[in-house]
């Protein structure tokens, strides 16, 4: 609150970037409802996504050297007021979300027009924008309770977006309902955890929480808070035994929604886990170290194998990708559980690389749905010759999923293996490689179906339209680009990891 004695220096637009990041899509959402025009809904969404991406880039450039931007909502200073705090870690995540949105939206125009009834379009894009701004809000805020609010904004709109797939398959409704129940339990657990932290420390600001927890050490209240937060976020990020909502949700949601969610929603949840594990509780918090080592690490390894194994036996390309997502989350959790700088770097890099890989693959799924009606292996058999460009992108995405050198997926797995060796846990390193072999099998099945099997006689599929091909190939080329030029991603991830672990910046 500004008092009368304080002379106010006018803030420039540049100072407002952190709040504009959230505000632009957040205002665009009610605007699409208010205008109510189906024709204008997409242009508004796309324009606000582009503006968000520009802002995210400007923010990332400001904090890439290890600086921190703090923005006070309503002029109330933290720890009392809500603070938006931008550092390398969340600027990186926000940039990923905004970039994915800008790539997915051009693809969504055709895909959504095909999969979602026309009269729902204005509301669909408004829910999309809310989800988009909610995800960025989760990443950018520095207030623990505000995380919950943004998490629920994004989750509630996600349920709507998934249910929008009901026009094509009615099972989207039960998928959305299941996710609603599980997601709400997760969010409520998260709130209980925040409540315990507030009882234990009397503050909600993350930086302030970190100081007070460090000062008083762990006690039963704070340990309970950590456990509740871990389980709550675990539900949101499809942490292995809590992942049951994910396969159905991703399978029956409209393809554009699957592409956007697979690339961003779970990644933002991983970021929240990183933020709580490292900034708020800190690696000095003994209870956390034990939990990560004896609970999260084994479960992450189980996730890598069990989900990959299930993915091998799927007969639907989209569902296979959903199971592969759960397995890939395992790699990120593994990186976190190492509790070293290299491990966290691996988690952040994999978060980004897997995001673009899955975006490319799920968008290709959308192209197959448009041309072949479905993505069962029988329906897409032989499409490698009929849809050469889409299928080539699937091959690139698949290679990145396996982690073949020259693709983005290789970089993150390489850093992860490095982290395992650094820690001296060579069995874990072997397990990472072994689970990648499972990825070879499930990716090969798709490639075999696409290229080596004859097409259905009644198949009339032709190459996907250019508005779909361009986004698919932007994501696919990004998989290759970030597999060769690693300075940008790895550099940003290192700075982010150093910031999270409170190491001196590099």
């Amino acid at each position: 609150m500004a008092t009368e004695s304080v002379v106010h220096t006018a803030m420039t637009l540049h100072d407002h970037l952190p709040v504009l990041q959230i505000l632009v899509p957040f205002i665009a959402a009610p605007l699409t409802v208010f205008i109510g025009s189906r024709a204008l809904a997409w242009p508004i969404s796309f324009a606000s996504s582009v503006v968000s991406l520009v802002i995210a880039w400007l923010l990332l450039m400001q904090v890439i050297d290890g600086d921190v931007i703090s923005y006070h909502i309503g002029g109330w200073a933290p720890p009392l007021g809500i603070e938006y705090r931008v550092d390398a870690a969340n600027a990186f995540v926000v940039f990923l979300v905004a970039a994915i949105s800008v790539v997915v939206l051009p693809f969504a125009k055709v895909s959504v027009a095909y999969e979602v009834p026309l009269r729902d379009h204005a509301l669909f894009y408004s829910a999309y924008l809310l989800c988009f701004s909610g995800l960025m809000g989760v990443a950018i805020t520095g207030d623990a309770f505000n995380v919950f609010v943004f998490l629920e904004i994004s989750s509630l709109s996600t349920y709507v977006l998934i249910a929008a797939g009901a026009g094509k398959d009615k099972r989207a409704l039960t998928a959305a309902y299941d996710y609603l129940i599980m997601g709400t339990i997760g969010a409520t657990f998260f709130v209980i955890g925040i409540g315990f932290l507030y009882m234990g420390t009397g503050t909600l600001n993350m930086a302030d929480l970190a100081q007070r927890i460090a000062a008083q050490g762990g006690n039963r209240t704070i340990e309970a808070g950590f456990a509740f937060i871990l389980v709550g976020i675990g539900l949101k990020l499809a942490f292995y035994p809590l992942h049951l909502w994910l396969p159905n949700a991703y399978t029956y949601a409209p393809s554009a929604v699957s592409a956007f969610l697979a690339a961003t929603a779970t990644k933002v949840a991983v970021y929240v886990l990183l933020r709580f594990c490292f900034t708020v509780f800190g690696p000095a918090f003994g209870f956390e170290v034990l939990t990560l080592q004896y609970v999260v690490l084994p479960l992450a390894v189980v996730a890598m194998f069990a989900s990959s194994f299930v993915a091998v036996f799927q007969s639907d390309f989209k569902r296979m990708l959903a199971y592969s997502s759960i397995a890939q989350i395992g790699y990120m959790l593994l990186g976190i559980a190492f509790l070293t700088e290299t491990g966290v770097t691996a988690a952040i890099v994999h978060l980004f690389n897997h995001g673009i890989t899955k975006a490319a693959l799920f968008m290709a799924v959308g192209a197959y749905v448009l041309r072949a009606g479905d993505t069962f292996y029988n329906d897409i058999a032989g499409l490698g010759r009929k849809m050469p460009w889409t299928s080539a992108a699937v091959v690139i995405g698949g290679l990145s999923l396996i982690g073949v050198p020259g693709t983005a997926g290789f970089i993150s797995k390489w850093v992860l293996v490095q982290a395992a060796f650094e820690k001296g846990w060579w069995p874990v390193a072997l397990l990472i490689v072994a689970s990648s072999l499972l990825a070879v099998i499930y990716v090969w099945r798709v490639v075999e179906v696409l290229y080596l099997q004859p097409a259905r006689e009644d198949s009339t599929a032709t190459e996907a339209p250019l508005t779909m091909l361009v986004p698919i190939w932007v994501a696919a080329l990004a998989c290759i680009w970030f597999g060769i030029d690693t300075d940008t991603t790895l550099g940003a991830a290192r700075t982010a990891a150093a910031g999270l672990l409170n190491l001196p910046g590099q």
Partner: protein
């Protein structure tokens, strides 16, 4: 059909006015006494819902058509966010109400909270009525004999 439930109809008509008035009271006294946009919005919505319950969905949708409900619930959010945008353009932080009267920030806070609460009230009214419409429109109308 018109002749049924005479007492219900008369009492409802008598109540709707005071309910709306009370909603406005709660709305505009929210800044320094218990109340505010959330409560006022719900009370205001009750006025429409009770009208719909007694006189039928079609009647209340003539007064408050669904397209208007959608516009209003979006408008409320725009009012709230727009207040912040105005303070932003005046060179202050987002939602820093001191921006409206820079030489006396407390007055600005009064104005700011009034406008913001108005936005909340409009949205909550819209959302509550929209939820009622969404569910009421899906069920088959109850025939007169089933009362």
């Amino acid at each position: 059909m018109i002749r049924h439930h005479l007492i219900l109809r008369v009492i409802t008509k008598m109540l709707i006015g005071p309910i709306m008035l009370f909603a406005l009271y709660v709305q505009f006294h929210g800044d320094y006494s218990p109340g505010g946009g959330f409560q006022a919005g719900v009370i205001m919505a009750v006025a429409f819902i009770i009208y719909g319950v007694v006189f039928g969905l079609a009647t209340v949708q003539q007064v408050f058509p669904p397209w208007l409900v959608h516009k209003l619930l979006a408008l409320g959010v725009l009012i709230y966010a727009g207040t912040g945008v105005v303070s932003l353009f005046l060179g202050y932080g987002y939602l820093d109400y001191g921006a409206f009267t820079p030489d006396h920030p407390e007055h600005g806070q009064h104005w700011g909270i009034l406008v913001v609460e108005l936005g909340v009230g409009v949205t909550v009214t819209g959302v509550m009525v929209a939820i009622y419409y969404a569910f009421a429109a899906r069920t088959p109308a109850i025939s007169d004999e089933d009362w």
